[in-house]
């Protein structure tokens, strides 16, 4: 037992603690405790009234027993009695017991509150503090109801002792966190804010925690704290290390208060007052300068305190995201820490750099450290540091370094800790998709992923690769070839078999020409894996087999034989048995036509945000992947849930028009186009499920806050269109849906539908951050003569977009006459403090108003000749910039909106199309001929129409597509 025991010792307690420590086993301990509990119970129930000391001792023993992890179900009343003892030491133990063992017994709460009330009004500062500590420790709603009105008064009263003010401030903070509705600052607000000016550093230190919490919830009411905080910070930063006496910690002046001040400032945008802002920037510069000075002490406490302030300052700089100079300095400073010998600093530098990477000002500066970070991933001994390095690589990834980063992450995966593999797999999958310039790289990456870490590849990942392969016809052949090769490995992961089965079932025909991968070879390869697979995978393979029968009639007999075998048709698994029976019947009864229709190639999936992102977000908790947009749908839709692959495929191809460009939603044919709110909206909402509600719910109760904001935004001129806006526009010439634009904050998705000369476009603005966008405002304008050519009406969007939310905007378009330019879409909003101003071209192009026209060969040539004046024709000869795959070309021509006319051109390699452009003023007939030259990898495109401008424009637009 220790020699020191200040105040009064409780001998009985010390003996009991010694006894417990001497117990040799858990059983002995429990026995000793039960003996003590029986003893205490009998003492409390006994006839003899206990004196204060004994009561205190027994209550303290009960507390000790509770803290050892045992249940205590009595003694509360004795503890409450101690609260009103006239001996301080008894009161103190009573409060400690109550603080630790809160009991919501209403009778007791009333008694406790009474005792607290007495102590609060005792005017004895020590008693007042005890009572306040108890409220702060318990923090229950009952206590808030009883004391939330009284404590602010104590906090700001002129005659309250400093120590009581400190306790009162933090007590109030705890009550506010638990029951914000009960803590009303109202009249006290300004006096509380002015505690920042208090002479006593301890009072400021305590009060600022309260002020920070209140400010984050009611920034407007507390905004006067900004200038006070800046001047306080400035005084501390410029003080000598001895000025603040006991508030200096290892030669660092008031580190806790400095950090809290910098934290408070992060509740606000940069100060508007130039002088205040200047002073603050000076502070931040001083803090950055001090980081370069030699340390005043070798103690780790000195450097920790100093760097704590530095990191908090960097957080503020990142929060403002408006001072490029400071951002770059911050990045350089963190760069030094990346190679520091202290593991803690390396960890924090990696973490902090992650946020710097998302600022446009410092993204490039962060990228210069790529080699160091990769090295950290390879050599750090602590898995949590390696995890940070992986996070940072993910954050700094962009088009320029994606291949390097993905390669490094893949090679790290081979040896990565099991605890982080799944997350790494998701990240690699996301980066590979996001920055895939050529999709063969994407397919390689994902297949590598399955090869290296197959167990950690979740459904979302392999659903997604299939989704993408199905939607990108230029990669299908490559995917089939690669997956075929991957399956050659004697042991391959079941996920590889799933992807392989699906892809070969859809696109096996693309490689069937090569005798080494003839239909039967493909089938035998797949079937060799069959018996090693789980039931869901076998089910998927059976669906692949029936698709084979359709793709390759020559495999029919072999596959029927397999389906007919007992192990299939009499399989004990009902699902497998059913599939075998149904597929066998289908293949023997249905005519080739029916079979071909039922087993049609999967239509493209609607473009949507990757469900992998949602998964990663769920894994990391909200906020962790704030860079990314949360998807409306949680699960990949592919395959209807995975285990019933073929069925879903069959159902889908039955339901939709069997054309590769068919609109899955059937919008073209069914949606009524009118000027009012669309009834077709419900169809769309299904796809972007979050869009509807979030668009309507925001804003209403924020009117007061918002009404002042828009003018400041509106006064800013729209930015000129982004340099890539033409390229983005070109992406949508042959399709109507997809992602128009994406940066680190915002994603804009589009769905559109056209009929005759009318169109409707749905824009989906997704906030990819966890912070709300305020003053969100979008405008669509028609520059120059476009004004008289297009009639564009928009509905305004709600000015507030919550973090992670998506809002929808409807745009109605009427084509008055033919046009060339595209309308401009300008988006403005504030993120943090900074104004974002983005202009894009809205992908409304003249071809959207095409009505396809079917006609026979004779008609076509007759009309072609009629349009033989030189200005009616536009022609371009250009090099192919994508593959020249027949199906892709057809899909694009159909996407253009024209009818693709078969058997018209004498040369079967050529394509001819016809359509009529519908404008309000006139209809413009349009004929098209595309002549590919596979050897030279060239095209000749000829357009003829009754209007020279139309011929030229359609020709220009289409030439960019091949």
């Amino acid at each position: 037992m220790p020699a020191v025991s200040k105040g009064d010792g409780m001998r009985g307690l010390a003996v009991f603690i010694s006894d417990i420590r001497n117990c040799k086993s858990k059983e002995a301990e429990i026995k000793r405790i039960n003996k003590e509990l029986a003893n205490i119970r009998s003492k409390f129930k006994g006839d003899k009234a206990l004196d204060g000391y004994s009561k205190k001792k027994y209550v303290c023993k009960l507390l000790f027993i509770f803290l050892l992890g045992h249940d205590i179900d009595f003694g509360h009343m004795e503890a409450v009695n101690l609260l009103s003892s006239n001996k301080y030491t008894e009161k103190q133990i009573g409060y400690l017991f109550i603080s630790v063992l809160v009991n919501s017994n209403s009778e007791l709460i009333r008694l406790i509150n009474n005792a607290i009330k007495n102590d609060l009004s005792s005017r004895n500062p020590t008693f007042m503090c005890l009572a306040l500590h108890c409220i702060a420790n318990v923090g229950s709603r009952e206590m808030a109801e009883a004391f939330a009105g009284e404590i602010p008064r104590i906090l700001v009263a002129g005659d309250t002792m400093d120590s009581v003010k400190q306790s009162a401030a933090l007590c109030l903070l705890r009550l506010y966190k638990a029951s914000p509705d009960l803590v009303l600052m109202g009249e006290w607000t300004s006096r509380v804010v002015h505690l920042l000016n208090d002479q006593h550093m301890g009072v400021v230190t305590a009060a600022i925690s309260l002020i920070t919490c209140l400010s984050s919830k009611n920034p407007d009411e507390f905004k006067t704290c900004v200038s006070l905080a800046v001047s306080r910070l400035s005084r501390i930063v410029s003080s000598a290390s001895t000025d603040l006496q006991d508030y200096t910690y290892y030669f660092v002046p008031a580190p806790w208060l400095s950090c809290k001040l910098l934290r408070l400032l992060q509740c606000y945008p940069p100060p508007e007052d130039g002088a205040v802002k200047g002073r603050l920037v000076e502070c931040l510069e001083t803090i950055l300068n001090k980081a370069q000075e030699p340390p005043k002490s070798k103690k780790v406490q000195h450097s920790n305190a100093k760097n704590a302030i530095l990191f908090e300052a960097i957080s503020l700089i990142i929060h403002y995201d408006s001072e490029p100079n400071l951002l770059v300095r911050a990045c350089n400073q963190l760069g030094q820490f990346l190679q520091h010998r202290e593991t803690n600093l390396r960890y924090l530098a990696l973490e902090s750099m992650c946020t710097l990477a998302s600022s446009e000002f410092s993204h490039e500066a962060v990228k210069t450290h790529i080699e160091t970070v990769i090295n950290a991933l390879k050599t750090e001994r602590d898995v949590s540091v390696r995890q940070r390095a992986a996070d940072l690589l993910y954050a700094m990834c962009d088009r320029s370094n994606a291949k390097q980063i993905v390669a490094e992450m893949l090679s790290y995966l081979e040896t990565a800790d099991y605890s982080i593999r799944e997350e790494m797999v998701l990240k690699v999958a996301i980066l590979a998709e996001k920055y895939a310039v050529d999709y063969s790289w994407y397919v390689d990456t994902i297949l590598n992923l399955i090869r290296i870490a197959g167990d950690y590849v979740s459904e979302e990942v392999w659903y997604r690769v299939i989704q993408i392969v199905i939607n990108r016809d230029d990669v299908q052949g490559y995917a089939a070839k690669t997956v075929f090769e991957a399956l050659q490995a004697p042991a391959c992961h079941e996920n590889m078999v799933k992807v392989g089965g699906y892809i070969l079932g859809e696109f096996g025909n693309l490689i069937a020409g090569d005798p080494r991968s003839s239909p039967l070879v493909q089938f035998n390869l797949l079937h060799s894996k069959f018996h090693l697979c789980s039931v869901p995978t076998r089910a998927l393979l059976l669906s692949a087999y029936i698709k084979f029968i359709n793709l390759f009639p020559e495999t029919k007999a072999t596959i029927q034989e397999v389906l007919r075998s007992d192990s299939q048709i009499r399989n004990s698994d009902v699902e497998l048995q059913q599939r075998a029976v149904e597929y066998l019947k289908l293949s023997s009864i249905a005519s080739t036509d029916v079979l071909a229709t039922v087993l049609e190639e999967m239509p493209p999936f609607p473009e949507r945000e990757s469900s992998i992102l949602a998964k990663l977000k769920k894994k990391k908790g909200p906020g962790a992947v704030s860079v990314e947009l949360e998807d409306g749908k949680e699960r990949g839709e592919l395959n209807g849930g995975g285990d019933r692959g073929g069925d879903a495929a069959i159902a889908a191809s039955n339901a939709s028009t069997p054309s590769p460009s068919a609109d899955l939603l059937g919008l073209r044919s069914t949606a009524p186009v009118s000027g009012t709110t669309p009834s077709a909206g419900s169809l769309l909402v299904d796809v972007f499920s979050e869009a509807g509600p979030s668009a309507t719910s925001a804003g209403v109760n924020d009117d007061g806050f918002l009404s002042s904001a828009p003018p400041t935004v509106a006064s800013e001129d729209p930015a000129p269109p982004l340099p890539e806006s033409d390229e983005l526009l070109n992406k949508f010439v042959c399709k109507n849906n997809g992602v128009l634009f994406e940066n680190q904050l915002l994603q804009i998705g589009i769905k559109s539908e056209y009929r005759q000369n009318l169109g409707r476009m749905y824009l989906f603005y997704g906030n990819k951050t966890s912070v709300q966008f305020v003053s969100f405002n979008t405008t669509v304008s028609c520059p120059g003569e476009l004004q008289s050519q297009l009639n564009v009406q928009t509905k305004t969007v709600e000015p507030l977009v919550e973090g992670g939310a998506q809002v929808q905007q409807v745009i109605n378009i009427e084509c008055l006459t033919d046009f060339i330019d595209a309308p401009l879409l300008n988006i403005k909003f504030r993120y943090g403090g900074a104004l974002q101003n983005i202009s894009l071209k809205l992908p409304v192009t003249i071809n959207k108003f095409f009505q396809p026209t079917e006609m026979a060969a004779a008609d076509f040539f007759q009309r072609w000749k009629q349009l033989s004046q030189p200005q009616q024709e536009a022609q371009k000869i250009f090099k192919a910039s994508h593959g020249m795959d027949t199906e892709v070309l057809k899909a694009k021509l159909l996407g253009l909106g024209t009818a693709l006319l078969e058997n018209v051109d004498p040369n079967p390699e050529n394509y001819v199309c016809a359509g009529v452009i519908q404008t309000k003023a006139q209809q413009v007939g349009c004929l098209l001929r595309l002549e590919p030259n596979a050897q030279a990898q060239m095209y000749r495109l000829t357009l003829r129409s009754s209007k020279d401008t139309v011929s030229q424009r359609v020709c220009d637009l289409l030439a960019e597509q091949f």
């Binding site: 020191v4 603690i17 001996k87 020590t126 903070l173 705890r174 305590a206 949590s384 909200p622």
Partner: protein, 147 residues
């Protein structure tokens, strides 16, 4: 700060302070999980780790681990120094503190913590002021007040 735990190398909890409302069962589960996680880490490892949606900051002093759970926006390094200042306060009060002092005088360890941190936030960072408050309370121990 959401909570602070002190535990020995054998995994015995010596002090637990919770600043958010949690049921007894949740507290026990959290303590058990966290003690296991931290004891499994090697000495030279980083003092910070992500744990559920919290940041854990810990440091070992002799036979005792001091461990704080803070929220996402909280500063890890300053939390590390919160721990150090608390150790200094205990050391000054008990005179070269050891684990036994905290076992036998656990109530004092709680009183000192309440003077230093309240509701999970620093109340008074001056070592002198905290110790002065504790000493004053010790002086009052045997005084009787009129009620």
């Amino acid at each position: 700060m959401q909570f602070m735990l002190l535990f020995s190398r054998q995994g015995k909890l010596r002090l637990q302070k919770w600043y958010v409302p949690l049921s007894d069962k949740e507290r026990k589960k959290i303590s058990r999980d966290l003690v296991q996680t931290i004891l499994a880490r090697k000495p030279k490892m980083c003092s910070f780790l992500e744990w559920r949606d919290l940041k854990i900051v810990y440091k070992r002093y002799a036979s005792l681990y001091f461990c704080c759970a803070v929220e996402d926006q909280d500063n890890e390094l300053i939390t590390l120094e919160i721990i150090h200042r608390y150790v200094e306060l205990l050391d000054k009060y008990f005179g070269s503190v050891c684990e036994l002092d905290i076992i036998f005088n656990f109530e004092k360890a709680y009183f000192i913590l309440d003077e230093f941190l309240l509701g999970g936030e620093a109340q008074e960072t001056s070592k002198k002021n905290v110790l002065k408050a504790i000493e004053q309370a010790d002086l009052l121990q045997e005084c009787t007040f009129p009620v």
